[in-house]
Amino acid sequence: MPTPSPARVHDFEVVSNESIAERIFSIEIAAPELARAISPGQFVNVAVPGNAMSLLRIPLSYVRADIDAGSIVMWYAVVGDGTRRLSRMKPGETSTLLGPGGRGWSVPDSTTRALLVAGGIGVPPVLCLAHELHERGIAFDVCLGSMSAKTLVGAEQFRYLGAGTVCVSTDDGTAGLCGFCTDPAADMLLAGGYDYVATCGPAPMMRKTAAAAAEAGTYCEASLERMMSCGFGACGTCNVETTEGMEGACMCGPVFDASKVVVW
């Protein structure tokens, strides 16, 4: 029998929940056991109270875990009813989550310099990885993309964690370069010096990044998003078409070897 999901049901309590950019919130939740168990690239599946017509949990990556404080931090965009309700949860409110879910990043021990390419609300798992790289003493650069300055998150944090370069691009040019972050990323990859690439963001962005990494011959991992019902391998709704067949994003991913991904 394959290994079951490491996920467990945990109670959590909201510690803080605040807007950090346009329609993007940062929530800190106390869940001590989870904080100990989770690792970068994994996710949690959160039950948000308040609408009995909407039954499923909401899958979210995390940005960092604080084992001492027993908490984790997540950043989320308000895109629909579930995330809107989440944004209204107040400190002290409680609910449950299922986690940690899935397989996170696996940066090879031999890695010397990594390139991180993150776009939109794909930043959280990549920033989480930056914490790991920082701790492991692996150098990294970042290409960060966003629609506009108003929705840009993570630049400071990447710098604080010791990123070499943090190259920002916005679609509308209101911060950094004007255009997609995949262009500087491709240039940097071609220039060489990287032995690992991690990416998360919109599907076309990840596809381009993976193609550039492949061209440069650099190992690349990508964190994929799928509609998920359970988050622990029971329902088969979160499929990713890979070169090895259909694989569930919640168990075999969300982080995949990018060269295996057939449909982004």
């Binding site: 049901v9 039950a47 029971a234 088969g236 449909v263």
Partner: protein
């Protein structure tokens, strides 16, 4: 503690209690092993499996709708051999603990159901019975096409009956329930599982496209419950073979309605995806209800609905 006897017999499958799991919502059982005591369940039904592996449908396979969800997994499965390799040991051990294993059988045609069932019979001596899924809304041929008319459903059952002497269940489509129930009973089915998800549609009004990779998907969850209870009652009056009630069971009360309407057993579906331990909570609530009714055996409540 309650003194109600909870054991039930579903067409020869002897369950220690009436609570089982609905195919496709409980994986192959082991996915829940770290999340709950699976062996406390009366039975589990495994995800539908065909003779050879199926890849299922492209993503997205799931859309949430008010009061439920819609899926178009399309019976992705590793084939019976892959299934047995992957999950056989776990399921055999589970059967040893007294939880009955019902293996669900998928196919695109009568011949495919038969060959899958033959493999199952050969490779799964620990299986208590087999459920024929002639009602999957998410495969182009077979599935619901085999289960939407009395004739087609009976044909599959008759052919399968010939190659299998263990209990055979039929997972019913949510259409023409009384007619189809009678037809498959006559064809040799030992029990009915009512109902499979109801085909539905959800359109993204900005892109004008389906929110799934296919135009339609199968609906699960509380929105089905009053429809499913009605269908169980229709079948209960039409046939003598026992029924497993499925559809939107979130609480013991939801399960109790199925029992009163004529189900001998119930299966929990979507609830297990939202809350992995839901089936055990539902079992406890069902037992408490039975106790409150003052019966000594839950079978006394089967079909006790007073019209």
């Amino acid at each position: 503690m309650s003194a109600v006897r909870m054991a039930v017999d579903v067409g020869g499958i002897k369950m220690k209690n009436p609570v089982s799991t609905a195919a496709g919502t409980f994986g192959y059982g082991w996915q829940f092993d770290s999340l709950m005591d699976v062996s406390a369940l009366g039975a589990i039904t495994t995800k539908g499996c065909a003779a050879l592996p199926w890849p299922g449908n492209p993503a997205p396979r799931m859309a949430e709708v008010p009061g439920g969800m819609m899926n178009s997994v399309g019976l992705q499965n590793p084939g019976v051999r892959g299934f047995v390799e992957q999950s056989g040991t776990y399921l055999e051990r589970l059967a040893g603990k007294g939880t009955q294993i019902i293996c669900q059988v998928a196919g695109h045609s009568t011949a495919e159901y038969v060959s899958a069932l033959e493999l199952f019979c050969e490779l799964c001596p620990w299986a208590a019975g087999f459920e024929l899924n002639v009602s999957c809304p998410n495969v182009a041929e077979g599935g619901i096409a085999c289960g939407s008319t009395p004739e087609a459903a009976a044909e599959v059952v008759r052919a399968c009956r010939r190659v299998c002497d263990r209990p055979l269940l039929v997972k019913m489509a949510p259409v023409r329930v009384d007619e189809i129930a009678r037809a498959v009973e006559d064809a040799g089915a030992d029990a009915l599982t009512i109902i499979n998800s109801i085909p539905g549609m959800s359109i993204d009004i900005e892109t004008h496209r389906s929110r799934l990779s296919r135009p339609t998907g199968g609906l699960s969850g509380p929105l089905l419950h009053p429809i499913a209870v009605r269908m169980v009652w229709e079948a209960f009056r039409a046939v003598r073979i026992p029924i497993i009630g499925v559809g939107g069971i979130m609480t013991g009360a939801d399960a109790a309605e199925f029992i009163l309407a004529g189900a001998t057993s119930v299966a929990v579906g979507m609830a297990s995806l939202v809350d992995p331990g839901a089936s055990l909570r539902i079992l406890a609530e069902l037992e408490a209800w039975a106790d409150r009714q003052g019966v000594s055996d839950i079978n006394e409540l089967v079909g006790a609905f007073e019209a």
